[in-house]
């Protein structure tokens, strides 16, 4: 008896709780939206941005990819990196920038990716020279190296200088550098590292997916995790044709309407809805189910709000859409704390950021407004 319970609990741990989930010719062993990015092939939307990055790389234009957290900067750069690994005359390098200066680890990673020997006793400067030599040799051999720096936000100004100097220190050669960071980081480069700022040739800003991008993202996730689809090594299912089962398109459109449509937010919201669907053993996750799930979650999240987040919601409820500055002034609080609260509320799907006349404006989602009204009445 005890063994049965232990085995059952172990199974629940392994499957994530309410899984496997089987619906109308589809079978999911785990929640398709639980993992961050298991595969770059799940990249969706941002077609224009991907093409622009391709053109920049071909034209040797350094590019800074910017956008708020969760907009899909990393998956975009990772996708391009994967594409270039399959093109003969290119040698891409993907480097995750770490906190602090241009560290030994980062240099070692570059050498490692280039298949160069790494001297573990070498100093930081020696490693840096090895990197420059390796890049120069490739240039002479007709190989174009593209270095992708991920999460530049982690780097200090020193790191940025060193990254940018790498280009200067490789003689007669312009490696293509692709940076991934927030707009704040780009401002820092323009403001404080002025002599080097002209080396950034283009900025690609990601601002979220349109409905077609969201539908594509959701379909790819479902197709990737469905054991019946061709991607899942099954005989094939409607996911291979772009189907969204168990979701209806209308349900996904409601999710898209309610949150800032960044890939990370879409994934998180779909994660919660499909989890609830699996728990309730629903065959279809339609408009009404998503509506009820979102209402329940919003109500729970609102009741748990405290501190600055609660104040921000109150201001937006009273005054309507507002910029971060407007909210900061209304609450007479520090802009740092307000920005933190806004990021948190946006992640939770309680507010939505949109491009307004005065810059980025935040407003309550329709669901939040409704639940606030219900809470007030009750």
């Amino acid at each position: 008896m005890v063994d049965d319970i232990v085995s059952e609990i172990k199974g629940e741990f392994e499957s994530g709780g309410s899984w496997p989930y089987e619906v109308d010719g589809h079978r999911f062993r785990t929640n398709p939206f639980a993992e961050k990015w298991p595969d770059p092939s799940l990249f969706a939307g941002y077609e224009d941005e991907l093409r622009r990055l391709r053109e920049n790389i071909q034209r040797n234009v350094n590019t800074f990819i910017t956008g708020p957290f969760g907009t899909g900067k990393t998956i975009l750069t990772k996708t391009m990196y994967e594409v270039l690994t399959e093109v003969e005359e290119y040698e891409p390098v993907f480097v995750a920038v770490q906190k602090g200066r241009f560290s030994k680890t980062m240099a070692k990673r570059i050498l490692d990716e280039l298949g160069e020997p790494v001297d573990s006793t070498a100093t930081s400067t020696e490693l840096y020279d090895d990197v420059a030599d390796a890049l120069e040799r490739r240039y002479e051999d007709g190989v174009r190296t593209v270095v992708f720096y991920d999460e530049v936000i982690n780097g200090s100004e020193g790191t940025l200088r060193q990254i940018l100097h790498l280009q200067r220190d490789v003689e007669n050669w312009e490696p293509v550098l692709v940076f991934n960071g927030t707009a704040h980081m780009l401002d820092q480069i323009h403001g404080r590292i002025e002599p080097l700022s002209d080396r950034i040739g283009d900025e690609i800003t990601l601002s979220g997916l349109d409905i077609d991008g969201v539908v594509e993202l959701v379909n790819k996730r479902l197709r990737y995790y469905c054991r019946e689809s061709e991607w899942g090594d099954g005989d094939g299912c409607s996911h291979d044709e772009g189907d969204l089962a168990p979701f209806t398109r209308e349900a996904i459109e409601l999710v898209h309407q309610d949150i800032t449509p960044y890939p990370r937010h879409i994934r998180r919201e779909c994660n919660e809805v499909i989890e609830a669907g699996a728990r309730a053993e629903r065959d279809v996750l339609d408009f009404e189910f998503v509506r009820a799930t979102l209402a329940e979650e919003t109500s729970r999240k609102l009741e748990q709000l405290s501190g600055h987040a609660a104040d921000v919601v109150a201001v937006l409820d009273e005054q309507g859409p507002s910029t971060a500055n407007g909210i900061t002034e209304a609450l007479e609080a520090s802009s740092y704390h307000i920005q933190e609260a806004l990021t948190e509320l946006e992640k939770e799907g309680l507010i939505r950021a949109t491009e307004g006349d005065r810059g980025i404006e935040y407003k309550l989602t329709e669901q939040t407004s409704r639940e606030l009204s219900n809470l007030t009445q009750s």
């Binding site: 898209h256 309407q257 408009f287």
Partner: protein
């Protein structure tokens, strides 16, 4: 943009038929419905999401109203895409002992049909209608998009 419920109208008119027709007419000619119908007439069939995005409305509000319009036989859901059930809606307000209201979905009948008994028209679910306010929706449609 709320429309009085059928129960409220029943209390007001004290007549089930008039209340039902008045509710249908109110739903059909409310500002929200006219915006949705205007889009459907102009652009053709559309999903709830498309209508919400084009009219800058909340999907829940749009969905609820489309369902009301579908119940009234004014639009139809075809596999997740909404279509107008007819090109014309005719609202008739007539006089009997009190007011009579009738909403007809479809082409309005010829002028001669005006002489029909209002009570009978009110009992018809569809395909009947007269010209007292015939074309109201069409004219309001023009106001929406001059």
């Amino acid at each position: 943009m709320s429309v009085p419920s059928e129960a409220e109208l029943r209390r007001f008119f004290d007549d089930e038929t008039v209340a039902r027709e008045a509710h249908r007419a109110a739903v059909a000619t409310s500002w929200l419905s006219l915006r949705l119908l205007d889009h459907l007439y102009r652009e053709g069939a559309a999903s709830t999401g498309e209508l919400a995005r084009h009219c800058n409305l909340d999907m829940r509000e749009v969905r609820d109203r489309l369902e009301e319009l579908a119940t009234a036989g004014i639009v139809a859901d075809r596999d997740g895409v909404w279509e107008p059930a007819a090109d014309e809606l005719t609202v008739t307000i007539g006089r009997d002992e009190g007011v009579t209201v009738a909403l007809a979905v479809g082409e309005p009948e010829p002028e001669g049909a005006e002489s029909a008994e209002p009570e009978e028209e009110a009992d018809e679910e569809d395909d009947s209608g007269t010209g007292l306010l015939g074309g109201t929706v069409r004219r309001l449609g023009r106001l929406l998009s001059p």
